[in-house]
C-alpha cells in the first residue's frame, strides 16, 4: 500500500507521543505483567498451602513410620493369678501382633486414685497414659480384663473404625441409657467425626470395651470423666455411671459418641440382668465378655473363662498349622 504522503512518525498508531512516555518500558511492562502476576499468585499459593499443612499437621496427624494403628489397653488387677494374667496378656498380644497394633497392660494400682474408691477408676488414667506413651497412635482400645478376643482375624478397621463400616453400624437416635433416657444419640452423626465408640447393654453404656480417638478431644473427655468430684460422688457403678452422666449432661461428649451393636465389640457370655439372648456371645464373635464376673462374688472369672480360653488356643493352633 502506498500513501500519498510520507508518514510523520514511525509508529502512527501510538496514542502516546514518544517524547512524553517511556513507551518501550510500558510495552515490556505490559507483556511482563501476566508473568509477574502469575509468579506472585504461584508464590502465594505455595505459601498458603504450606501454612495450611503446617497448621493442621499437629502431633496427631504426623505419624512416624512403625506407629501402631491401635493401642489395646487392659488394666490388670495385681491380685490375679499369674496364669490368668499370662492368658489375658497372650490373648491381646497375639491379636495386636496380627494387625500391627500394640498392647499396654498397666496395673490397676499404678495410678494415684483417691483413697476409698474402686480400682476400676484406673481405666481412665490408663487410657490417658497410653495416649502419652503412643502420642501418634490414632485409636485407643480399652478392653476390660474380664473379656477375651475370640476372633483375632477381625481387624478393628473393618470391625468399626473405617468410617464406611461405622456409618453402617452406628445406632442413631437411640436413648443413651435404655430404655427411656430423654437423651438420645445424635441422628445426624458423621462417622469421620466420631471420637468415641462403644456399645450398650441392657442396663446402660457398656464401658468394658470402648474405642477412643486420641487427640485434644480425648484429653478433654478423659480428664472430665476422671474428675475428682465424680470419683468422690459414689456412683453405684463407679466410672460406668460417671460415663453415663457426662454423656447425658455434656453435649460436646454426646456429639462424638457412636453406639454400635453389642456383638460387634462386646458380646456378653451370660445374661446379666435383662440382657437379651440375641446379644449373647456366639462362636465367631469378636469379643467375649464375662461381664460381672469380677463384681459378683459368687462367680470366678478365671474358671468361667477356662473353656473359651481353650477354644481360643485351638483356633489359634488350627490357623498356625
Amino acid at each position: 500500500m502506498q500513501f500519498p504522503y510520507p508518514r510523520k512518525t514511525s509508529s502512527p498508531n501510538s496514542p502516546f507521543p514518544p517524547s512524553r512516555s517511556s513507551y518501550p518500558r510500558r510495552r515490556s511492562l505490559r507483556t511482563l505483567a501476566p508473568y509477574l502476576l502469575g509468579g506472585v499468585a504461584l508464590i502465594w499459593l505455595i505459601v498458603h498451602l504450606l501454612s495450611r499443612t503446617s497448621n493442621t499437621s499437629t502431633a496427631i496427624n504426623f505419624r512416624p513410620p512403625g506407629t501402631p494403628e491401635v493401642v489395646i489397653v487392659t488394666t490388670l488387677d495385681p491380685s490375679l493369678s499369674p496364669t490368668y494374667r499370662a492368658n489375658l496378656i497372650t490373648n491381646r498380644r497375639d491379636y495386636a501382633a496380627r494387625h500391627g497394633y500394640t498392647a499396654f497392660f498397666p496395673n490397676t494400682t499404678d495410678y494415684d486414685l483417691m483413697p476409698h474408691i474402686p480400682d476400676s477408676w484406673s481405666t481412665i488414667p490408663a487410657l490417658r497414659h497410653a495416649m502419652t506413651l503412643f502420642p501418634h497412635t490414632p485409636w485407643l482400645f480399652y478392653l476390660t480384663s474380664t473379656a477375651l478376643i475370640m476372633n483375632p482375624a477381625l481387624p478393628l478397621s473393618t470391625q468399626v473404625l473405617d468410617p464406611k463400616v461405622l456409618e453402617a453400624k452406628m445406632i442413631t437416635d437411640r436413648p443413651v441409657v435404655p430404655p427411656d433416657s430423654v437423651i438420645k444419640t445424635f441422628s445426624h452423626l458423621r462417622p469421620e467425626r466420631v471420637d468415641l465408640i462403644l456399645t450398650q447393654d441392657k442396663e446402660g453404656l457398656a464401658g468394658g470395651s470402648l474405642l477412643v480417638r486420641s487427640g485434644e478431644w480425648a484429653k478433654f473427655f478423659l480428664d472430665a470423666w476422671y474428675d475428682p468430684l465424680y470419683r468422690s460422688y459414689n456412683f453405684q457403678k463407679a466410672e460406668g455411671h460417671a460415663l453415663e452422666h457426662i454423656v447425658q449432661w455434656h453435649g460436646t461428649i454426646l456429639a462424638k459418641l457412636a453406639l454400635v451393636p453389642q456383638r460387634t465389640l462386646n458380646s456378653y457370655t451370660r445374661e446379666t440382668g435383662a440382657t437379651g439372648t440375641e446379644d449373647r456371645y456366639q462362636e465367631g464373635d469378636f469379643i467375649a465378655n464375662f461381664h460381672g464376673c469380677q463384681r459378683d462374688t459368687s462367680r470366678n472369672c478365671e474358671e468361667e473363662m477356662g473353656p473359651l480360653m481353650i477354644r481360643w488356643r485351638e483356633l489359634r493352633d488350627q490357623e498356625r498349622r
Partner: protein
C-alpha cells in the same frame, strides 16, 4: 427507512437518495470532529478511487454536506447516537493526526490498523464500546483531570474520615475490629432480686456509654446482655452460670468474631485510645503468661500430678503427656483460648477473654455440671468463678490452653478492693523496676500489680465489690472524670491551662487585697 419529508434537491445540485445511501454515521466517523479543508478531501477521494466500498455516493454527499455546514438530509429515528452524534463527537478530545483521517480510514479498511472497534464497519454500537478506551486515553493524557479527580477523592476522604476509618478498623482483613465482641453484663442481679435506684441507673448509663464510645472508635461489636435474675434460672441450680449461656449466645450472634471479651457493668475503659489489638492481641505471648507458678494466689499445683498428694505415690503418679505437664502448654499464642486476670484471691471473671474454638465449646460445656454443683454449691461462694478455678485445678486439659494476663492490663482495681494500693515507684514508674528485674510484691508492677495506676495509664478499671460497703456511683464518677481529664485534646488542655492560670491570678489578687486590708487594719 421511513421519510419524514420528501427528498428535495440540494442547492449544490443533485438529489439525496436516502433509500440508497448508507446511514449517516456509517462513514468512518472517528475523526468527524475535524474540520479538514475541502480541497484535500476531494483529492483523497480521487486518489483512492471511486470504486472503494466505503466511499459511496451517500457518504461523499454526507461529507460535502458537512463541509457546507448544513446536512442536506438528516435521517430521523436513528436512535440516540444518531441524533446526538455531533454533540457527542464535539465533546470528545481532538487527536494529533488531524487532517489525515482518511488515510487512516483506508488503512483500517485493509485490516492493518487497530483491531476491534476501529476496524472496518464502525456503527454506533462499536463506538459505544470504545468509549471506555477513550476515557482511559483522556485520563492518561490529561494529568490535570487526574489530579482533579484525585483531589476530589482526597476531599471525600477528609470529609468522611470518621466513617472511613471506622470501616477500615472494622473490616476483618484490615483492622480486624469485627473479630472482637465486647459482652457487657448489664442489670446484674436486677429484676427479681434488687430494685434499681437512680444511682444504679446512672452507673449503667455511664458504663454503657463508655463502652459504646470505645466500640464506635475501634469497630468492635458490643453485646449488652440483660443479666437480671430470670424465672428461668431462679428455680434452677444454674443460677449465676448464665455467663456460659450468654457467651454461647454471643458466639452464635456474631459468627465471624473470634475473641469475646466479657465485661462486668462496674468497669470503665479509662483509655479509649488503646485498641485491643495493640494492647494485647497483636503480641499475645508477650502480654500474657501461661505458667501459673509465676503468680499463684490460689497455690494451684503445677504440674498436676496425682490428686491425693501421697508421698509414696504409685508407679504412674504422673501419666500425663508432656504438653499438659508443661507449664506453658505448647507455648504458641495460637493455642491460647482463654485469658483470665488474677487478683489477690485467684481468677477474676470481671473482665476476661474467650476465643471461639472447639476447646472453648468444651469448656463452656463442662463449666457447669450438676454433680459438681451438688457437692460444692455451699463452698463455691463466687459460683462460676470458683467452678472455673476448680476445673482448672482438677482437669489438666484446661491448663494447656489457658493464659493469664496481668490484672492491671484489663481489670485494674481501685484502691480498697483487694487490699491497699502499693503504688508504683516515683519517677519512671514500673519501667525502672523491670529493667533491674526487681518485680516483687512491694510495688504494683508486673503480673503482681492489681490496683489502678494513673501514671501508668491503665486500660480498664473494675470497681469490683463496690456494692459491698463502697460507693459504686462515686467511684464510677471519679474514674469517668479522671479518664476525661487524662484524654483531653490539645485545645482542651490549652483552655484548661488558661482557666487555671486566670483562677490563680484572681486568687493571688484576692489574697494580696486581704493582706492589704489586714495591714490597713493594723
Amino acid at each position: 427507512m421511513s421519510l419524514d419529508r420528501s427528498p428535495s434537491p440540494h442547492r449544490s445540485g443533485g438529489w439525496s437518495s436516502p433509500g440508497l445511501t448508507s446511514p449517516f454515521e456509517e462513514t468512518n466517523g472517528h475523526s468527524r470532529s475535524q474540520n479538514p479543508s475541502p480541497g484535500k478531501r476531494n483529492g483523497y477521494g480521487q486518489l483512492n478511487g471511486g470504486a472503494q466500498p466505503g466511499v459511496t455516493w451517500g457518504s461523499a454527499k454526507a461529507k460535502s454536506a458537512r463541509v457546507n455546514g448544513y446536512p442536506s438530509y438528516q435521517p430521523q429515528n436513528q436512535g440516540f447516537f444518531g441524533r446526538h452524534y455531533r454533540r457527542l463527537s464535539e465533546s470528545l478530545p481532538h487527536f494529533a493526526h488531524g487532517g489525515q483521517e482518511d488515510r487512516y480510514a483506508e488503512k483500517e479498511k485493509l485490516g492493518r490498523g487497530r483491531s476491534g472497534g476501529w476496524s472496518g464497519s464502525s456503527n454506533s454500537k462499536m463506538k459505544w464500546r470504545e468509549l471506555p478506551r477513550r476515557v482511559g486515553l483522556l485520563i492518561s493524557r490529561r494529568r490535570k483531570g487526574v489530579a482533579l479527580v484525585l483531589l476530589f477523592l482526597l476531599g471525600l476522604m477528609i470529609w468522611f474520615q470518621k466513617p472511613l476509618q471506622y470501616l477500615y478498623r472494622r473490616t476483618s482483613f484490615l483492622g480486624g475490629g469485627s473479630k472482637f465482641v465486647i459482652i457487657l453484663a448489664a442489670n446484674q442481679g436486677g429484676g427479681v432480686m434488687e430494685w434499681k435506684g437512680p444511682r444504679e441507673w446512672a452507673i449503667e448509663r455511664d458504663s454503657v456509654k463508655n463502652k459504646k464510645k470505645y466500640v464506635a472508635d475501634w469497630g468492635y461489636e458490643l453485646d449488652i446482655v440483660d443479666m437480671s435474675t430470670k424465672k428461668r434460672y431462679a428455680h434452677e441450680w444454674r443460677e449465676s452460670w448464665e455467663k456460659v449461656d450468654v457467651i454461647r449466645k454471643a458466639m452464635t450472634k456474631y459468627p465471624d468474631a473470634e475473641w469475646f471479651w466479657w465485661l462486668d457493668l462496674n468497669t470503665f475503659i479509662m483509655e479509649p485510645s488503646y485498641s485491643l489489638q495493640s494492647h494485647i492481641f497483636s503480641n499475645l505471648n508477650a502480654h500474657t503468661y501461661r505458667d501459673i507458678n509465676l503468680y499463684n494466689p490460689l497455690h494451684i499445683q503445677h504440674p498436676p500430678n496425682g490428686t491425693s498428694g501421697d508421698a509414696n505415690a504409685p508407679q504412674y503418679a504422673n501419666y500425663l503427656d508432656p504438653e499438659t505437664l508443661s507449664p506453658v502448654g505448647d507455648g504458641k499464642s495460637t493455642s491460647i483460648n482463654l485469658i483470665v486476670p488474677q487478683d489477690c484471691g485467684g481468677f477474676n471473671l470481671g473482665s476476661f477473654f474467650v476465643r471461639r474454638s472447639a476447646w472453648t465449646d468444651r469448656l463452656l460445656d463442662i463449666w457447669w455440671d450438676p454433680v459438681f454443683y451438688e457437692q460444692k454449691h455451699m463452698e463455691w461462694e463466687h459460683k462460676e468463678q470458683d467452678a472455673l478455678e476448680y476445673i482448672y485445678t482438677n482437669q489438666p486439659w484446661i491448663r494447656s490452653h489457658t493464659a493469664f494476663i496481668p490484672q492491671r492490663m484489663v481489670n485494674a482495681f481501685p484502691n480498697g478492693a483487694c487490699g491497699d494500693d502499693r503504688k508504683v515507684p516515683e519517677g519512671g514508674g514500673c519501667k525502672t523496676l523491670a529493667a533491674g528485674g526487681m518485680e516483687g510484691t512491694e510495688w504494683e508492677c508486673g503480673i503482681q500489680g492489681i490496683h489502678y495506676q494513673e501514671s501508668e495509664r491503665d486500660f480498664v478499671v473494675n470497681m469490683a465489690g463496690c456494692e459491698w460497703g463502697r460507693d459504686c456511683w462515686g467511684e464510677m464518677y471519679n474514674f469517668r472524670q479522671l479518664s476525661g481529664r487524662l484524654n483531653r485534646s490539645r485545645w482542651e488542655r490549652v483552655k484548661d491551662w488558661w482557666g487555671e492560670s486566670e483562677e490563680a491570678k484572681t486568687k493571688a489578687k484576692e489574697e494580696a487585697r486581704k493582706r492589704d486590708e489586714a495591714k490597713g487594719k493594723v
